[in-house]
């Protein structure tokens, strides 16, 4: 064996610099300097979520002394507060007017500015929580469906249930997709703080994932169940009378004009409990077992958990304080009550159009009226949590 000379490799040399925390004492070397000091935590101790989220999106009412530097054609930049009609305390106070020699702020500027910045997502969504949660969901779903496939569980389904799932469970994927992309993601540019817009992004993500979960479940069923029509959901979505009310409202939610607050409120406070949970929990999940299906509820249940435990949770934390706002409680309540009136009527019309679905499975779910009552009660509870009155329209 011979050895050959290789030219000396060029590599940076390690140098011990002793640049560790605590190596020296000087102003700002203490433990108290090792925290982000530009925001007030919601609770006693600032959270990891707050550290990675708060103030990333600037605000001229806070530290943005030079103001936004790029604007739209009308000269407006950043995240204008009037992109919703809702108001949080401090909104109507004038922005600091800065100019030659004014310094960063006007002298009467009070910290920490206005109420929008008080919102914290109780789900504490950031990179780690978002990926961990959704990765766990898709892993669990994949295992459930794989297990069902291996145990030939789909063979136990009644013929009617197969038709029900291919058309109706299939149709629901479109709603999740539209809400995910064209309501939650579409409004993710619009809210005034990073905490709001990040919560919207996370909500959108769950919806898009759930839509795809349903689509891929549909694909599995096409491969596993002889005669399962994997394209029937498109026909049902486009033409079945039962779905046209829900579709109409779902599309209306994408058409809310220039008010991210109304779009999110109408989707998560009104549509979801009165139409979403009505279908997912009170029909599909109640019917499946009786029709030999223990798999679909696990797929639907993941989406149901998304809404009940995460989407609704942040929505309540976002809107409830606005009805108690120190300056604008009455304004916000009046506005939200108006939204309730407008959207509840549409939601109930959509729900009633879905009524024939309750008759389709062989093993019947609870009566439609009982299911709807349950959904209405749930909705009334949400209104109470938000500090709002149950709207008259709910009696329809």
């Amino acid at each position: 064996m011979t050895t050959t000379e290789r030219p000396e490799r060029s590599v940076p040399k390690p140098v011990f610099t002793d640049a560790e925390a605590g190596a020296r004492e000087f102003p700002d070397s203490g433990a108290s300097a090792r925290r982000y000091n530009y925001f007030t935590p919601a609770k006693r101790k600032q959270t990891h979520y707050e550290d990675v989220t708060v103030e990333v999106q600037p605000d001229p009412r806070h530290y943005l002394t030079q103001g936004w530097i790029y604007g739209f054609a009308d000269g407006e930049g950043g995240y204008p507060l009037h992109w919703t009609k809702l108001k949080a305390w401090g909104v109507d106070k004038p922005e600091p007017v800065r100019g030659v020699g004014t310094g960063g702020m006007s002298p009467d500027f009070t910290w920490p500015a206005h109420g929008w910045h008080e919102f914290r997502d109780p789900n504490e969504e950031w990179e780690q929580s978002l990926y961990r949660y959704n990765a766990n969901v898709v892993r669990q779903l994949t295992q459930n469906v794989d297990n069902a496939r291996h145990s030939k569980a789909f063979g136990q389904w009644t013929a009617n249930w197969v038709r029900f799932v291919e058309r109706n469970v299939g149709a629901w994927m479109h709603i999740e997709h539209i809400l995910g992309l064209y309501v939650f993601a579409a409004n993710e540019r619009s809210a005034p703080t990073n905490m709001h817009n990040t919560a919207l992004a996370a909500n959108s993500t769950r919806k898009i994932r759930f839509a795809q979960d349903l689509a891929l479940y549909n694909l599995t069923l096409t491969e596993e169940i002889s005669g399962f029509d994997g394209s029937a959901h498109v026909e049902a979505w486009n033409a079945d009378a039962e779905w046209q009310g829900a579709r109409k409202m779902c599309e209306a939610l994408t058409a809310v004009e220039d008010d991210w607050g109304e779009a999110v409120f109408a989707a998560n406070v009104v549509f979801e409990p009165l139409v979403g949970e009505l279908f997912r929990s009170n029909l599909v999940m109640q019917s499946a077992a009786g029709n030999g299906d223990f798999v679909t509820p696990t797929v639907m249940g993941a989406g149901e958990y998304d809404y009940a435990q995460r989407d609704l949770r942040w929505t309540t934390a976002c809107f409830a304080p606005l009805t108690q706002d120190r300056e604008f409680a009455d304004h916000n309540k009046g506005l939200m009550q108006g939204w309730l009136s407008r959207w509840v009527a549409q939601a109930l019309e959509a729900a009633r159009q879905m009524q024939p679905l309750w008759s389709q499975p062989d093993a019947k779910p609870p009566r439609f009226e009982d299911s709807l009552d349950k959904a209405k009660n749930r909705f009334a509870g949400i209104c109470r949590d938000l500090g709002l009155d149950t709207p008259e329209e709910l009696k329809q």
Partner: protein, 545 residues
């Protein structure tokens, strides 16, 4: 996977009852565009993949702390991270916010999926970077500047230069902002230096967490680049778009060059202690990553679609870096203005001089003396900060567009716009403000094009103020209430650190733009004639004309 991707295309939606509200506009049209989604990604595989990437990142972070990485990091390097990591989470989150602007204007439901995944990626990037900064704050010797970074960068001039990298993504014409500026130029071209070249330099300075985080970030970029390319091809299908595409490529290229090369060039060349002669300089990196990898491999081939590529600007950018010392001028200016910052800037040593001379022949003649003065004036000893001392340096005017000062003095141009005299660092920046960002372009209505707004020269706000009050007002003061966060050296001995008392003795700050607008026409003409004869290295114009 192909079947899964095909399946989720069934989710595409054609409205029957209500059309979505179009909040954002574009002057581009997509009447003839073929619809194609280049991104084969479904969330069922996406989430576990990203989670696994996270495990690796956070595992490395745990390892770095256990292995006492901070015993080996170069303070010269970590101090510049106070600027970089205060800026970069905002462009990332702004990229997330820009994606919905495209849903509204790009009529391709298949592409919307890719944009939505990019949206989530960008949330990931923003928060993973905030978290890295948090780790530095907790473990690096000097947390000042990290701990108040999101307050600081919003009022700091260097932070504001970087901020346009974010605001350019989220305002104005949706295609200009979210597609051409963000994905076609910023992500496809300049993330190579941001997220690949810079982390390599971090590793050479003992910091392997920046590469860990940013390579993880960069691994998402290829999907974003696909989004941009798909949109670009759609736009090219319509002849009416060509004029706008060429305008936007010129604006976006030049702005990215001005902003990214200024910042990243400075970090890599002046933030490193690695002076091996065979390590690449920023100019060499730029040639490899931007010129060869992007310009020749990506941009030039677009000519086959009949697009006029801004060859002249690519060559001019290279000329700025290689011949006109753009990066060196910027680094020198950052060091001149150390007192208005929130990080410490180390001076250059003989070893640094030798490396610069090797990589950039003639460097010492231009910049060497000034850096010797910088070191001479680094610790307070009865003199002022270097900005107020006579070191043959004329304080520069700021470019109204890119907000980097007009440092290559010969290129400075002036214009009176909207009733105000403005200085620009280059004709291209004047063009951006006065021609591109306007409601008409070459006689064509461009009602969706954005505007340059805001107080674009920071000194305006502090015109006539005492420097001590300026620093205090901006919040760049340590927890004893008097020692400055910024220092022109790395010595943490409190006796050698500058305080507000030292600032108090200095003459008041003057806003160059305010002064410019107070001049008579004749004075202004004389000023301009003198300015373009100044330099290099900020030297006054020669008196023997």
């Amino acid at each position: 996977m192909a079947k899964a991707h095909q399946k989720i295309q069934e989710l595409a939606w054609e409205p029957q009852y209500h059309e979505p509200y179009m909040k954002y506009g574009t002057d581009y049209t997509f009447r003839k565009a073929a619809k194609k989604d280049p991104l084969k990604q479904v969330l069922r595989s996406y989430f576990p993949m990203e989670e696994e990437k996270d495990h690796r990142v956070y595992g490395a972070q745990d390892g770095a702390i256990r292995g006492n990485m901070f015993r080996q990091v170069q303070e010269r390097w970590l101090e510049w991270q106070k600027l970089f990591l205060s800026i970069i989470p905002l462009p990332e989150i702004s990229a997330a916010r820009s994606m919905p602007m495209l849903f509204n204007v790009v009529p391709n439901p298949e592409l919307h999926n890719g944009q939505a995944i990019q949206m989530i990626d960008e949330v990931r990037h923003s928060t993973i970077q905030q978290n890295l900064k948090r780790l530095y704050m907790n473990n690096y010797i000097d947390p000042a500047g990290f701990n108040n970074s999101l307050r600081n960068f919003q009022s700091d001039y260097a932070g504001t230069i970087g901020r346009q990298f974010a605001e350019g993504f989220i305002t104005g014409d949706a295609i200009t902002a979210a597609s051409i500026y963000l994905t076609i130029i910023a992500e496809t071209a300049f993330t190579n230096t941001l997220f690949v070249a810079m982390p390599a330099e971090a590793a050479a300075n003992g910091d392997y967490l920046l590469p860990t985080v940013f390579h993880s970030v960069q691994s998402d970029e290829s999907r974003h680049i696909s989004n941009g390319y798909a949109t670009l091809l759609m736009a090219l299908s319509d002849e009416d778009n060509r004029q706008l595409l060429e305008r936007d490529l010129r604006y976006a290229w030049w702005n990215n060059h001005r902003v990214v090369d200024a910042a990243i060039g400075t970090f890599i060349e002046y933030g490193t202690k690695d002076r091996r002669k065979d390590r690449e300089s920023y100019a060499e990196m730029w040639r490899r990553w931007i010129y060869d990898d992007y310009y020749r491999s990506y941009l030039v081939p677009l000519e086959k679609y009949g697009l006029t590529v801004p060859h002249d600007l690519v060559e001019e950018s290279w000329k700025q870096i290689w011949e006109k010392g753009y990066v060196h001028e910027v680094a020198q200016f950052f060091a001149t203005g150390w007192l208005a910052n929130y990080w410490r800037i180390d001076g250059m040593t003989d070893e640094d001089f030798e490396w610069f001379e090797h990589k950039y022949p003639g460097w010492y003649d231009r910049y060497g003396k000034w850096w010797e003065n910088y070191s001479r004036l680094a610790t307070p000893n009865g003199h002022h900060a270097i900005v107020a001392e006579d070191v043959d340096y004329v304080y520069p005017h700021r470019c109204w567009t890119c907000m980097v000062p007009c440092l290559v003095r010969e290129d400075m141009v002036m214009d009176q716009v909207d009733g105000q005299w403005r200085t620009y660092c280059h004709e291209m920046c004047r063009w951006t403000d006065t021609v591109a960002f306007r409601p008409t372009y070459e006689g064509r209505e461009t009602p969706n094009m954005g505007r340059l707004i805001g107080h674009r020269e920071w000194e305006t706000l502090y015109h006539g103020w005492n420097w001590a009050d300026v620093v205090k007002d901006m919040g760049f003061v340590r927890d004893d209430g008097r020692t400055m966060t910024a220092q022109p050296h790395l010595d943490l001995d409190p006796k050698k650190m500058w305080t507000l008392d030292h600032m108090r003795r200095m003459p008041p700050l003057q806003s160059p733009n305010v002064v410019l607008n107070e001049m008579s026409d004749a004075e202004r003409q004389a000023f301009a004639a003198d300015y373009v004869r100044q330099g290099p290295a900020g030297r006054p114009a020669p008196t023997d004309a």
